[in-house]
Amino acid sequence: MSAVIQANRLSKRFGTTPALDDVSFSVEAGRIVGLIGPNGAGKTTALKAILGLTDFQGDLSVLGLDPRKQRHELMQHVCFIADVAVLPRWIRVSEAVEFVAGVHPRFSRAKCEQFLARTKLKPRMRVREMSKGMIVQLHLALVMAIDARLLVLDEPTLGLDILYRKEFYQSLLNDYFDEQKTIIITTHQVEEVEHILTDLMFIRDGKIVLDASMDAIAERFTEVMVNPDRAAAARALQPLGERQIFGKSIFLFDGTDKPRLAELGEIRQPNIADLFVATMKGTYA
């Protein structure tokens, strides 16, 4: 199967700051990709380029289309939730459903109503009367009822409480995702998405610093908990990061032989948050 997104040497600058710096990557169909990076690293710019919302240098093909020139065709197959609370404040639930049903050829009204039936949303309710969590429920119900090939989520759960966040990813996984679909997510709440991702991309200062599948990451990275007396030996192996906890040191290694690390102490799978912190060390310095 050909790539859903094929990006080749994308660049974009805002003044003198590069938002995207000669970035190349590709995303296959049926993947859930987490695009993770610190504030201002270029995540949103990358997504905007994919969605044809911004201009850039380089070649980019999304579903075989050029988002700059063929945005209209592209949007028949791509959906996005840009942020929480971007639904127009005046619109009623019934109007939103009716409008999307009217303009989107791949929208299923029955599906949408089925999703809405699980929430407390009423047809006459206006967005301005809803909580952030309810707005996201409405947005998600609209988007999940569209049979799109690519779904882009930019900080979809920012500012939501944990109940809404859990529910959001659960519905996404259970009721929406299948191998025909591809999802790209950016978020700061890494812990919450790491179990649903199939691929991970770290972006820093406009560059992709890590692009791998979750399986490959499990192979590559190892965390070792080392007693103080063996810390020097561990440091000699050039760990990616080091932190102290309860008088022990935890080292994070990239690509180092697992059996060899096991001699130093207890090894385990690092979580993405720790991997992220180690990779982005010094970003704001």
Binding site: A82, P88, R89, E95
Partner: protein, 323 residues
Amino acid sequence: MNTFAWLLKREYWEHRGGFQWAPLIAAGIILLVVTIAVITGLSNAPLDGHALINGVRISDIAAALTPEQRLKIGAGLDVGLFFSAAPIAITLAIVTFFYLLGSLYDDRRDRSILFWKSLPISDMETVLSKLVAATVIAPLFALAAALILMLGLLILFSIVVAIYGMNPFTVVWANASPLSVVGKVAMLIPLNAVWALPTIGWLMLCSAFAKRVPFLWATLLPIAIGTCVSIFDAVTNLRLPNDWFWQHIVSRVLFSILPGSWMDFEHLDNKMDGADGPEVLLNAIDLNTILAPLAGANLWIGAAAGAGMIALAIWLRRWRDDS
């Protein structure tokens, strides 16, 4: 229903208050004021059906009207109806002015543009739907309100006529022609739209361009330039024709939205020279008066400039990236 129709419906949903209720409220206020005036008048006047004017009963006068006199009454009523709708026209102008200023700005401010842009709708369709909403949808609602107002006024007038012992059907309804007045006004909608294009284009351009306060961009920029031109004109001896800039640029980009502002009042004045009855006024507003501005370069240059600004607004809508 196709996408464009849905976009128009969307505009109606969002701006029901301005498009539908504002002209109706204006009509209601006029009716209320007239009703109060009528009640005050009646309470100060003899209320029996035998009121006398110079010893002649009013009802007898009505019965003795000649066909020509009836025609004059009808024309008088029609002129009254025509101008009774002026406050609605002004309401419409104010509503569309602010509608256009917000049309490509409000959804950028609250970022809901990202929702609209997530749907398969081209930016050209979006901008054009707002143009059609301002030039067709809003005027049609105002026209409906004007018709309601006219019928209301005629009913009020009929009651007064009846109180004075005249037959409202022969005196009022047989002579007045509210439908033809409304028809005349309806015929002006396309002309109003073409004439308003420079204002529409300018307001939409400011709306698509401004990072904040599009109102100040739209108003202060032309006024500031106009002031500079006037000062420059005064201190040098370069003589632009008097007030040319104000009349042909500032007023065209700000006030052409007012229905009927294309009317050449000098021309109308000439036509009404030697007028001796109300019918002249309505007759003066005939096809010739309507077609006259179509022959002038002013209208078409303005329309072309407006179309250019709308094209620019579409481009900005597509590529402006500040959300």
